[in-house]
Symmetry: D2
C-alpha cells in the first residue's frame, strides 16, 4: 500500500504534526509506504513529489508551516485536471490520499473521492476554526494564544497613555479568533463578522471604560463590518463581500473612534504572525491525533471521510457534509461574553 | 442576593478568571453583591472575608493564583464546623456559595448543599484534569504548555550530549499531563500512573532511540510506578500508596537507565512551575465561561450542581456524581500514542 | 528629603522597575519620602500627584507601562510653565526630581536643572536605543525579543508559501531594533534609516534567496527610505522628514518587490506590541540598576546628571551631553551583518 | 584555507549561531572551506568529522544545542593525544581551528596554540557567565530569562498558599544566574556561592516578608553554602568542594526554613531546562558577532586569541589570560541588590 499525502491552503501550525503522525503510524503499524506531494494539489497535478518516510518526519513536530509546501492550485479548474491527477497517482503507484486542508482543498478531495474514484481521507485545517463538523481545528489554539499575548502587551500601552488600542485579528467570515483572544485578553469590545456592529455603541463602551479610569482595548476580526455600510464608503472602500478593504476595518475603527470620542486611538494589525511558528501543545496534540486517526481510516478503507474532534474523541464524518457549512459564532455565545464589554 | 465565593485546594491558573466572571456577571446582570472568603473553607469557618466587587476583580484575568487565597481546611473535620459555617454565612447575609475547587473542596460543598441546606454551586478545579464529569478542567492546558516547552528545551541538551533526559511532571493518580506534554513534546517514552511500567521495556525504547542516532526523552508522571515493586525497595523507598518516594520516580528512572543501558541519564523535576503564572488563553476562556455559567446556576437556584465542559458547551451536572470518580487515562488512548515510543 | 518621580514620552517596558528601585532604595536606605507625578511633566505643571511609597511599588517589577502615566507635555512651552512647576514643587515640599524619559523629557530636565535651579537626576528611556551616552537603554531588549519571535514565526509562513515576508519594526531615526531583531531572526535583508536602500539591490537579495530554494524575510525599520526618493512619490507619499508615510515603508516595499521580482510579498507591521507588556529579564535588571543609581545620585547631590550603562557598570554622565547626539547604527556594524543578506 | 570548528563542554544556547556565523563569513567573504569536528576535542583526536558548509548551517540560528555535538574529552590526557590531533588535522588538511568552549575546552586550545603550534582562535562559552575576559557570554541571557520566567510563575503559587518557595538555579562557582534572575524575578532572598549565607538571616528575611503579608521567594545558586558548614552534615552531605550534595542546597534550605520559621516551604530545581532550547535574541546577536569576529581573527592569523565582549564592541584578548581567572560576583554588586531582600 502506498499512500500520498498533501497539504493545501494557507499554512497553519500543526500541519507537520499531522504529517508525522500519519507516516509514523502508517509505516510502523501498517507497513505502508508514502509519497509526499508538493504544494497541495499542484503535486498530484504535476507529479511533483518528495520522499516521505520516518527520517523525513523526524524533528518536525514542533515546527510550524508544512514540509510539503502548500498552494491554492485546484485540479478541478485545470485543463484535464482530474485525468492528470489520476494518471500521476497511477504512475506513482499511489493507492490513496490523505488530504490535509480547508474548505477548498477538502472540497476537491470530496469530489475526487465521491465522483472520480480517488480514495481520499480528509484532515480539516483552518486557523479560523470555522468548520462545522469538528469542535476545533488545529492551528486555532496557537493563533488565539499569539493574539492573546499581543493583547496582554497592548494593555500596558493603553493604560500608560490612556489611549484606545484597536487590535485587528484574523477571521474573514467567522469571529472565533476575535472572540477567544478578546475574551482571554480582557478586551473591552469584541467585534465579529457575524454581527454588524454599531459604531455609536462601540464608542459608548469606549467612553464608559475611560469613565472608570481605564483605557479600552477593542478587538476586531478583519471581516467585521459596521451596521451602516454606506457610512464607510466615505472613508474607505467596501470590497465585493461588503467588507471594508484598503486600510482595513482596524484603521477605520481607530479613526472613527478618535473622531467621535475625542480620545487618541491606535491600531495594531496582527497579520501573519498569527499563523506561523511552533504550534501550541494543544494543537500538537490535536494535529497528532488527527493524523493517527486519518491513517487508521485509510487502513479501514473508510474513504470520503474526514477526521473530526468531538469532545475528547476523534471521530470520522462524511467529508461531503463536513465542508458544506461554515461554523460561525452563535449569537448566544456572543451575548454571553458581552458582559465584559465597556 | 449576596453570594459568597471561595477557592480551595492547590492553586491553579484560571482561578482568578473564574472569580472575575462570577462577579462581573453577578453584579452587572443580576445586581448581586458578593463576599469573598479567604483561604478556601477556612474563610466561612472563621468568618474571614474580603471585599469582592467590580474594582476588586479588575486586572486579575491574566494573573495566576487566587486573590482569595487557598487552603485545605475541611469544615467537616473541624469542631462544630458545619454549625460555625452556617452561622457565619447567616451573620454575613450570604445566601449561597460559589465553590471553586477540586475533589476535596467540592466534596465539602456537596455535603453542605445536599445535607445541610447551604446552597452551593461548584466549579471544578484540578490541574491534573482527573475529574470525570468534564472534558477538561482549567489549569491543565497551562500546565501542559509549560511542560511541553520544557521538553522542547531538553531535546537540544539530550541531542548535544547524547544523553537520556528524564522529565518528571505532575500527576499523582492520573497521567494526563505526562501524556499530553509527552506527546506534544515528542517524548520517546511516556510513563503514567495508570499502567505500571516495565523498566526493561523502557530501556529497550531508550536503546532503540540511540540506535537511530537520537537521544531519548522520557516523560514520567510523578505517580508512575514500575511493574516489579520490590525492585525499587533496593534503591529507593515506597510510600504508603506504593509510590516511589524520597528521590522521586524521575531520579530512580535515571539511575536505573544508566545502570542498565550504560548511557548517561539526567532528571529534571518540573514541580511547582507547572501550576503557577499566567493562564493560557484556553484556560482563561474555559475558566471565564465556567464562572459565567456558575453564577447563572445560582440565579436559577440550581444548587448542588457543578459546571462542566462537554465539547464546546458548558453544562451543569450534579456535584455528587461529578466528584465521585477519578478520570484516568484510557488504556486505548495510551496505546494510541505508543506508536511514538522508542 | 522629598523626591518627586515622573515618567515622560512613549511607554517602555522597565519604567515600573525604575520607579520601584528608586523608591525601595530611597525609603529603606536613605529614609526619603516620595511624590509621584502623573503623566510626565503634566504632573509638576498642574500639581497632579499620586502616592508613592513601598506598598505602591509592590508587584510592579514585571509589569509593562508606567504606574505614573505618561504624556508629551512640555512645561517650557506652557504659559508660565517654569514658574508653575517651581511653585508646585515648592508647595508639595519636593526637593528634587528623578526624571525618567527620552530626549524631550530629559531635555526639559536638563534646562530645569542647569538653568532654573530645579535639581534633577535623569534616567534614559528610549525603546529605540538611540541615546549616545549609554550602551543600552531598557525596553530595547524587550522590543528586540518580541520582534525576533515574530520573525521566527514568519519564517514558516514564508517557507510554506514561498513568499517574501516584509516585517516593519520600530525605529524612526535609528535602525537598532531592525538590526538586532533582523540578525537574531535570521532575516535576509535588513533596512535601516541610517542608509538609504537601493530597491534594485533588495530585489537581487530576494531573488538570490529564492534561487537557493528558500523564502526571504525582509526586516525594515519604519524610518528606512529608498535611495531614489522621487520613485516613491508615484506610489506613496513622503512626509516632511522625507519618510514614506500613509501606507508605511513596509507596504511600499512589498508592492515594489512583487512588481519587480514577480514573487508574492506580504507585510506585517509589528507596531505597539513591541513596546508593551512585561519587560525581559535583561531590561528588568538594567532598569532596576538605573533606579538604584539614580537615587544614589540624588543622595550625592549630583544633579544635572543621568545614569548610563557602560559595559557592566552604571555610571553618571552630564545630562546635557547625554541628550545632545543621536546614537545611530555605525556603517561598519551594518556592513558586518551584511554577510547574511541574500 | 581549511578551518576546523569544534564545540566542547556543556551545551549552551547560541553554539549553533556561532558555527553559522563562522561558516557564512568564512565561505562568503574569505572563500574558506570548513571541517566540523564531532563532540568537542574527541573529533580531532579520533578524526571524527562532519561536513560543514553553507547548506549545513542553514536554519540552525534559532536552534539550541550544537549540530557538532559536544563532550568533555581532553586530548592532553589521552595517550599520544597531541600527536594524534596534529596528525588528524594534517591528514584532513585543516590549517587552523575555531574552538568554542569553556574553561577546559579553551584551556586545551591555549596549550595547543601556544605550545604545540596548532593555530587556534577561541570563542568563550559558559552559561554561568563566569569568564573574566568578557562582559557577557552567550547562553547566559537565555538561562536568566528562563529562570526569571519560572520565578514569575512561582510567585503566584507562593502568594496563593502563603508558602516559601525556594528556587535552585545553576551556578556552581559563580552566582550570576541567581543574581540576575533573582533580581529580575523580584526574589526576596538571593544566595550565591561567593558569599556563604547565614541561615538565621535568611529566616529573618523570610519572616519579615510574611509580616508584610507577602510570601517569599528564595533564589539560590546550586553552589551556595551556609556559613556554618558543620550544620549541614547532620542533614545532608558535603561534596569534596564543600558543597551540599545529594538533595541539593535548595532542598536543604526548604527544610531548614520550615524548621526554623514554622512556615511551609517548597523547592523547585530548575536544572537542565536553563541550558536548552532556542537562544534569546540577545544571545543570538552576541553569538553571531562572536562567530564573525572569530573567523576574522583566523583571517588575520591572530591565533592564541579569544573573542570577547566589551561594552558593545567585540575585541580580541589573549586566550591564556582569558581563561586564567574566574569572574565572580563583586561583593559591592551583591550589596547593591540587597535592598530588595526581605
Amino acid at each position: 500500500m502506498r499512500v500520498g499525502v498533501l497539504t493545501g491552503g494557507g499554512d497553519c501550525p500543526g500541519l507537520n504534526a499531522v504529517i508525522r503522525a500519519v507516516v509514523r503510524k502508517g509505516v510502523q503499524e501498517y507497513g505502508y509506504e508514502f509519497t509526499g506531494f508538493r504544494d497541495g494539489w499542484r503535486g498530484p497535478l504535476e507529479g511533483d513529489t518528495v520522499r516521505l518516510d520516518i527520517p523525513a518526519v523526524r524533528g518536525i513536530l514542533p515546527r510550524g508551516g508544512t514540509i510539503l509546501g502548500s498552494s491554492r492550485t485546484n485540479p478541478l479548474q485545470a485543463e484535464n485536471g482530474i485525468r492528470r491527477v489520476k494518471e500521476n497517482l497511477a504512475g506513482l503507484g499511489v493507492d490513496s490520499l490523505v488530504v490535509i486542508g480547508g474548505e477548498d482543498t477538502l472540497g476537491v478531495a470530496t469530489r475526487l473521492s465521491d465522483e472520480y474514484g480517488v480514495p481520499c481521507v480528509g484532515v480539516p485545517k483552518t486557523i479560523d476554526n470555522d468548520l462545522s463538523a469538528t469542535d476545533y481545528t488545529f492551528g486555532f489554539d496557537t493563533a488565539v494564544g499569539i493574539a492573546t499575548e499581543a493583547i496582554d502587551r497592548l494593555h500596558t500601552t493603553a493604560e500608560s497613555h490612556m489611549r484606545v488600542l484597536v487590535v485587528e485579528v484574523m477571521g474573514r467570515h467567522a469571529g472565533w479568533i476575535a472572540l477567544h483572544s478578546g475574551l482571554a485578553g480582557g478586551a473591552n469590545v469584541i467585534l465579529i463578522p457575524e454581527q454588524r456592529f454599531d459604531i455609536e455603541r462601540v464608542c459608548d463602551w469606549v467612553t464608559s471604560r475611560f469613565k472608570a479610569s481605564y483605557a479600552p482595548i477593542v478587538v476586531v476580526a478583519e471581516g467585521a463590518t459596521p451596521r451602516d455600510g454606506e457610512m464607510i464608503l466615505k472613508d474607505g472602500t467596501l470590497d465585493s463581500f461588503g467588507h471594508v478593504r484598503l486600510s482595513g476595518v482596524g484603521e477605520w475603527l481607530a479613526k472613527e473612534i478618535e473622531k467621535r470620542t475625542g480620545k487618541e486611538a491606535r491600531t495594531t494589525v496582527l497579520g501573519h504572525v498569527q499563523r506561523g511558528g511552533t504550534p501550541s501543545a494543544f494543537d500538537r496534540w490535536l494535529a497528532t491525533r488527527f493524523g493517527l486517526h486519518a491513517i487508521e481510516a485509510v487502513r479501514d478503507g473508510d474513504f470520503g471521510t474526514m477526521v473530526a474532534l468531538r469532545g475528547t474523541d476523534i471521530v470520522r464524518v462524511p467529508m461531503r457534509e463536513a465542508t458544506a457549512r461554515l461554523k460561525t459564532v452563535d449569537p448566544e455565545l456572543y451575548a454571553e461574553v458581552g458582559v465584559f464589554f465597556g
